[in-house]
Symmetry: C2
Subunit: 769 residues, 2 copies
């Protein structure tokens, strides 16, 4: 039973957490795992990918569509709700294999009746505007049931109200609500159709923001009554046509019916699991946590649009402004690159489509090229504010440097595009704007860089690296390494275009007026300073002067905390003047460029930075797990892997930064869990045409098996403690070379299976230099 | 009576303020204006120039020597003290002409006696270790007086205790205390001798830190009894010899006697006023405030040592660590340069003697050359801490960037040395280390600078300018202009040496290994970016991005203050993210380089920055006064002049920054008052061999008259509304050219007097360009 999340009983204190944990979604819509009788006070949300709104000078954030599943039952005048019930029994279930949510609740009424309520719902992975729910009710005694079900437009807003000019309508049995977004005047339309198991008396009730059916059922004891709801959620420019489409979609869905929709939905999910499921033998907990992490990624991955990417809190609500961060490229992209490159393509194309926003940001700060948004939404303009945190001591906005100084975001974007090209060999992304985006990112870095005349080198000054507790630092090792990589990528892109697409090359050079920049990039590439391991300690200094900061241990630092929600970074933060870091920084660099550093260097740095890392970000543990695997620290790797993989199951994550609520799901950790398992424990590393596999399984794991897509070819890989099995699909077009433990090399031909021996023991990935 | 500060009555609330206001001093010793019966609780202090001490990890600060004037009187068993007296009348007087402090107090005892106490004291300007005090007592009725007078070693310490191993001794009627400083183990010795008007019974009492005489006087009604105290305060390496010298000094002083010491002291003061007094006709208030400002400068100016300079709070106590800031060069040096160049020489030689400390600081931060201490003490090592302010909201130390980022201090130091040379023509300072200091400062700036490849220019990044509310900014206009000036000065210094002192030139170039640096300096000088007036507004942006900060008005900003002592700068300060500045920054640059900017540019910038300036520093108002004079805003100039000139009379200045007490005297404002009067209203500006005089007198002033020393020649100048009178002393060796209002030019020959007409009206000092 490794596919079921379930919970018995009802704990009001877990309503918010369970909203995340039991979430459904299809990449276009996220539907929080709340119950049918809940409303905005319980944070119900129907989050739409790619639609944002801003009211006044509040934060811009996703809109929350009217809730088409809202359903409340009254039995003989007594409302049935878990929020008020005394003696109810309750069980709720999320099946992550087919992405369905179900509840079974038994209410005991004051008059002694016993009402069983069963619902099952899914957000269709086949028809992306569609949510479907089946409801069944059975009473122990005869009674009069009144069911209010319809569309609740009185939604939870963090920085709203986003929806205005509500209009409710009923046409031929389908009910609908449409509204207009405040800022962009887009229409959001929700329509609902119902199919009841029998003929009931029905009335239609409307108020300002709500349209409901009042269904009266004369219940006979022991008889099941039920109905099915088909809900279409759509948005677009023209109010009339968007509304009409929603109504039409519902009618079509009704005609197809529940079972057929569920079948189609399940087939989509089957295919997803075929492409991505990871099977772990010998560790039920890890198996389940990892699958659950993949589930969370699948429900938010854009399968049909290259205009959206994955926000930092997925589609779990308006939290974090629904913004896309570097998380996507660094922590989620690897999963999709290795398993569903078509989704990876959408993710990187999102950066291409937001290039103009990145150009605007660069220009705003006086730079040329493309400076991607730290918090990116629909246009690529930066949703990040200069005062992104509230000081808990003064309740005043605190100046932070997320927006202005995390320049590595442009390197992350360029790196992501190039990674897609390298993993797939698909040049179309480069030709459709990817090359242009890469060149603009490189140009931005030249524009941002300074030359230190005295030291004959370029430097990257005044940045904030992954460790956001230390803002405005010089020569952050991670940033400089990624800038160097970006310049290299730009030069390789230009080479590729010049050789294979000379017309495109000429056009692009002309369009971007890139002549001088090419020469500048070559100089920058030659002379850019990238901090190296210190001779004795082998430690790479995180940034200039880091080693002179107070070297306090984490426990001591925490004793200085006066308010549990105080932000440890920023101007006066407790960590700011110490060596305590928020999250993997140098260690992330060691992972990204793992071939460049010796095992000794990796160990020295892991050991130096690990005790100094607060893991104040969900992006941290997985990286420590990955590098721990790499250097043979299996226990540490496993500990950090589990912490990462269970974050959305336990709900144990930082809920506040300053006064800001940051709860929700953690896609980066979900992606990080996959990375720790496949890139860490299984030790998969694709580079320069070769799939390296250097396994380092946790002690209790007998094997890990997973599919792999590389350069368009599909494989199934199974790694045990002694061997690596590789099966190439018969449909593959060409062989791909695998290299196990750095010694056993083999080109795996289409339709063949191979077994290579593996030590599963200590190993060194490469040597510096 | 424009020479007397006086006060009737006793207000316990003014004890601290009056300690500053009634201070005596001679540049070696500062003695706070407290009363004889006071002790450490009333902040008595005998502050020694150049002796510092550090205890544990507290701040390093000057030591407070034992108080040799401590005197308490008991009448028939009843102690007489203003701190406890009910019906006393009291008057205290400071005569700033001869620098004497006097009190007249009448105590009424419980038994109905009436005791008159008169004292007069001075800190000898002739014998710099000597403090002398005369005491006279007269009683209305017969009584038994017991006088305890001696040396109180139980001193006020801010970050002490600094003195240890106290030893008290009495030898042939002279009493003494010596003690050892905690850090450097220096000896501080205070000896006291007494001359009584008649024979009284005397006993010597000692305890841990105190040695006193108990003098019993059988008082006859109406008869005056008195005594005189001669106190020597000395410090040095060897305990025995320092103590012996103090005893010997007292014996010698006793033999000379009170009146003769007073005469000698007064002659020194006469000479000071001859060299510096400013006479204003038509404005008693301004006249007095300005004289008082000059008094404050004279009592702290080093006349006999080039190893000390003037601390930011003078010799008024341990406040501000007794540290020397840029205040000296920018706000005090001009007064001395124009009136007492031998004192100016001491001040700039202090920078020469602390060059090694500046080199150590540069090396500490990874730079070459000399980076002068932001807070300089005896060695030139920086006393400024990285956490120089305490956050009032958390009571935690706040990271500030005074120490690391105020790089303009090295420019200020080099500029001061060069100013001395230009004003005096005295090359000895350059040859005795001044040239070396200048070259090292220039080298530091090359080492600190970055080249912006894209813009083909050098920039000065990550600095804090005069406006300390905005830390870590790029291309601060003031800083860049002063860096450019420093490079120019260095190149001119090298030219001068090469031509006139070729051997010294060769030696210095070799010693400093300066060959490459010379080429670097030339490139830096050619390509250094100095922000210029914006084309439309003519405003010079204070630093990159300043104009994008919130443009809130000062009153609105102040409504956001939650705690009256909260620091407005630093990471989370209220001013940090706005355009509100602490003190003159661009406007100070306009003053320093007044010949470079047109009247229109000066007006545009004065008008832009004036309403945005908080004047959170005592260094601000005088600069706004100066530039207001320059651009014809006489009312503004006068208002800011008066605010500056009265600061130590009214005691109305910022007393706290964060939780830090910053009270004391304000030498920079004292010097600024002189600058506003002479350089502003009289419009004196010496540059390139010509004394320009562009008067712009406040409406009520009929004239201002003052001595002037330029290039070793002495003049007396009197400026009226229509004319400028210049008298050259007969002893002058050569003529100096004066240029009035930019049109009337004349070489004033030795021993001649000249009158030039002046418009006293609107004028323009020069054009940009």
């Amino acid at each position: 039973m490794s596919w079921i999340v379930e919970e018995e009983g009802f704990d009001p204190g877990r309503v918010t957490t369970n909203g995340n944990k039991y979430m459904l979604g299809n990449g276009a819509i996220g539907y929080r795992g709340t119950l049918e009788e809940f409303d905005k006070d319980q944070l119900t949300a129907t989050t739409l990918a790619g639609l944002y709104d801003k009211v006044g000078d509040q934060w811009r954030e996703p809109i929350n569509a009217p809730n088409g599943l809202s359903t409340r039952i009254v039995c003989d005048g007594e409302p049935l709700s878990l929020l008020t019930a005394n003696d109810a029994t309750h069980k709720q279930t999320l099946n992550i294999r087919n992405a369905t949510f179900a509840r079974e609740t038994v209410f005991l009424t004051a008059s002694g009746n016993r009402i069983e309520l069963r619902t099952q719902r899914f957000v269709s992975m086949e028809r992306l505007d569609l949510i479907v729910m089946k409801v069944e009710i059975r009473c122990a005694n005869n009674c009069d049931l009144l069911v209010h079900t319809g569309i609740d437009g009185d939604v939870w807003d963090i920085n709203g109200p986003h929806l205005e000019q509500y209009e409710a309508a009923e046409k031929e049995g389908v009910i609908g609500i449409s509204a207009i977004t405040h800022e962009l005047r887009r229409t959001v339309a929700v329509a609902e159709g119902i199919v009841t198991d029998g003929e009931f008396e029905q009335a239609c009730l409307k108020d300002d923001k709500t349209i409901k059916r009042a269904i009266s059922i004369k219940c006979a004891a022991g008889v099941a009554y039920g109905f099915t709801k088909f809900v279409s959620v759509r948005f677009g420019e023209d109010r009339e046509s968007v509304s009409d489409e929603a109504f039409a979609s519902v009618r079509s869905a009704v005609s197809v019916g529940y079972e057929e929709h569920l079948n189609r939905h399940e087939r989509q999910w089957e295919r997803k699991w075929e492409q991505s499921d990871v099977a772990i033998e010998g560790d039920e907990e890890a198996q389940f946590a990892l699958r659950y992490s993949l589930y969370q990624l699948h429900i938010i991955a854009p399968t049909a649009s290259e205009r959206v990417s994955i926000p930092a809190r997925g589609l779990s609500g308006q939290v974090y402004k629904g913004a896309v961060f570097w998380d996507t490229e660094m922590f989620m992209l690897p999963f999709f690159l290795h398993s569903q490159p078509e989704v990876a393509r959408n993710l990187v194309m999102y950066r291409v489509h937001t290039l103009d926003g990145a150009r605007r940001k660069a220009a705003e700060y006086g730079y040329r090229g493309a400076y991607y948004a730290w918090e990116s939404q629909d246009t690529g303009d930066d949703a990040c504010t200069l005062f992104n945190i509230t000081d808990v001591f003064t309740n005043r906005p605190m100046r932070t440097y997320f927006r202005d100084k995390q320049v590595h975001i442009s390197a992350d974007a360029a790196y992501g595009i190039w990674q897609y090209y390298e993993f797939t060999g698909d040049e179309s992304v480069l030709l459709e704007g990817g090359a242009e985006a890469i060149l603009e990112c490189a140009r931005f870095f030249y524009s941002y860089s300074y030359y230190k005349d005295e030291k004959l080198r370029f430097e990257i000054l005044d940045v904030t690296g992954p460790d956001e507790y230390h803002e405005r630092v010089n020569n952050n090792a991670f940033t400089n390494a990624l800038v160097a990589k970006t310049i290299e990528i730009a030069l390789r892109t230009l080479d590729l275009l010049e050789v294979k697409h000379p017309d495109e090359y000429r056009k692009l050079m002309e369009k971007l007026d890139y002549g001088n920049d090419l020469a500048n990039l070559i100089r920058l590439f030659d002379d850019l300073y990238v901090p190296q391991p210190e001779a004795d300690s082998l430690v790479i200094e995180q940034f200039d002067g880091y080693s002179k900061l107070e070297d306090v241990d984490l426990a001591s630092l925490k004793t200085r905390i006066l308010n549990k929600n105080e932000y440890l970074g920023g101007g006066n933060g407790l960590a700011t003047s110490t060596q305590i870091l928020k999250q993997a920084d140098v260690v992330l660099m060691l992972h990204l460029f793992k071939g460049r550093y010796s095992r000794e260097v990796k160990r020295a740095n892991w050991e130096y930075y690990e005790p100094r890392t607060e893991h104040g970000s969900s992006l941290s543990s997985c990286i420590y797990a990955l590098v721990a695997s790499d250097i043979g620290y299996a226990d540490w790797a496993y500990k950090y892997f589990l912490r990462t993989a269970t974050i959305d199951l336990t709900g144990d994550s930082k809920q506040y930064v300053g006064t800001l609520y940051i709860g929700g799901t953690h896609p980066a950790a979900n992606g990080g869990a996959w990375m720790a398992a496949i890139l860490g424990f299984a030790g998969v590393h694709y580079e320069d045409g070769v799939v390296r596999i250097n396994p380092s399984l946790p002690e209790q794991w007998q094997s890990i098996a997973f599919p792999l897509r590389i350069r368009g070819q599909s494989f199934n890989v199974r790694v045990t403690r002694n061997e690596v099995f590789i099966r190439a699909e018969a449909g593959n077009r060409s062989a791909v070379t695998f290299l196990v433990d750095g010694v056993h090399e083999l080109a795996v031909e289409p339709g063949t299976s191979e077994t290579l021996s593996a030590s599963g023991q200590e190993r060194g990935d490469g040597l510096a230099g």
